[in-house]
Amino acid sequence: MSPPTGIMRVTLLKDLRLEWRSKDAINSMLFFSLLVVVVFSFSFDPSAEESRQIAGGLVWVAFLFAAVVALNQTWAREIRNQVLDAYRVSPAPANSLFIAKTLGNFIFVSVLEALMTPLFIVFYRLRALGPAWQLMLVAVLGTWALVVNGTFFAAMSLRTRSREIMLPLLLFPISIPALLAMVQATTSILNGEGARFWLVLLATYDLVFTTVCLLLFETVLNAE
């Protein structure tokens, strides 16, 4: 039998290939992200100084919306034609599926963030007064926090009514501590202050929730 990492890799590649093939979906996601940035810019019209105070929040809320739309759509593919049943019947472990989906979502959401960030920097004339590498760390840890829970809850919502609203409904409350950390860390770094506490909190959050989601995923996948 293939080792679990092999199955994870194959599933991830399959997802990336499918994502690439359904260009419509990607293009609409990219355009959606652009729209979000523009709408925010019109709604929160800042001078250069104020922008540094609220940019942390704006950026992450924008990322959150983009992530929710992306998350909803990556599981949708498994439900069409009930392909998920084929996975469940096979010997492939449920955790490999979870990690593959989470990584795929992580990549996808990171691409969206990479598109939105320069726009935010330009529209808000942002400049990091603190160590910029820490911003990368916040981005990675924060995105992972959103994506790991998001993938889990998206799987949970698959067989509920109003599937698409259930995802944000479940994801947002539990993400609040992580969101607070992401926003505060980003704001601190932009303002030249350290963000050590928030980074440690985010890292711990990521560790705890990744572990628990891994432990519970098989149960959730096979829940009747």
């Binding site: 293939s2 599933t11 009930q82 049943d85 084929a86 469940r88 019947v89 010997p91 492939a92 096979n222």
Partner: protein
């Protein structure tokens, strides 16, 4: 010649499956021997699909036991089971080869060359062209069903579970599939087919299993429906 009954391949004992207030399976008890083609027949709501999905490990029974190839837990023998349902269980945006490559990996057919061999053989065996690059979503229904069957055959299963494989398939393709399945049965695979089109299997099936209201009401060797047993009627 000494008659020794071969051990049954699947044993179901008082299987009950309830969805809330609705009892889909109301105590199914049966033994199925290996190397036979069983047609599971009955009206809508009889429990045929539920039974098949329970055998495939997709449903947990509310009570009762299922033993497949000697194992109580499906996961222990999932390597030897192939499952096909009415939806295609394939990714519409990938070609047949790509779909099967993915599923082959799930079943542990890891090495690249062996993978390609196995897949080509399986696609050819269902009468399709392995070099077709069109995505599965663009196939006709008959082609899609056959590709779905190919996916179920990838791991050379000892048990094949098929749920409505012939629905929306033209007669020509359907009879072709039946011939193919009979051939697979002849090589030793045990096949269960849930279908509304019993006439297609007349001649190919070894046994017809009749279900009504969540129970097996009779098993026959031909297409004559068994007499309703006493108080079960009305």
């Amino acid at each position: 010649m000494i008659e020794t009954a071969p051990a049954p391949v699947i044993t179901v004992s008082n299987l009950i499956k309830q969805f809330g207030r609705f009892a889909a399976l109301r105590g199914v008890t049966a033994e199925f021997s290996g190397g036979k083609l069983y047609a599971i027949l009955g009206d809508n709501g009889a429990g045929k699909t539920t039974l098949l999905r329970t055998l495939a490990g997709l449903n947990q029974p509310s009570s009762g036991d299922v033993t497949i190839l000697g194992a109580r837990k499906f996961h222990d023998i999932c390597q030897h089971v192939g499952y096909m349902a009415h939806p295609s269980l394939l990714y519409d945006e990938m070609s047949g080869m790509e779909n099967l490559e993915y599923f082959a990996r799930l079943y542990g057919i890891a090495s690249h060359t062996r993978c390609a061999e196995v897949i080509r053989a399986v696609i050819l065996s269902v009468g399709l062209d392995p070099d077709l690059v069109r995505p599965v979503g663009q196939y006709s229904q008959g082609m899609r069903q056959r590709m779905s069957l190919a996916r179920a055959l990838l791991n050379d299963p000892k048990i094949l579970l098929l749920d409505e494989p012939f629905s929306n398939v033209d007669l020509h393709s359907a009879t072709g599939m039946v011939r193919l399945l009979a051939g697979i049965r002849d090589r030793g695979t045990t096949i269960f087919i849930v279908t509304h089109q019993a006439s297609l299997l007349e001649g190919a099936a070894d046994e017809f299993v009749w279900m009504e209201f969540g129970k097996i009401v009779g098993r026959t060797h031909d297409l004559r429906r068994p007499e309703p047993a006493g108080e079960n009627a009305q």
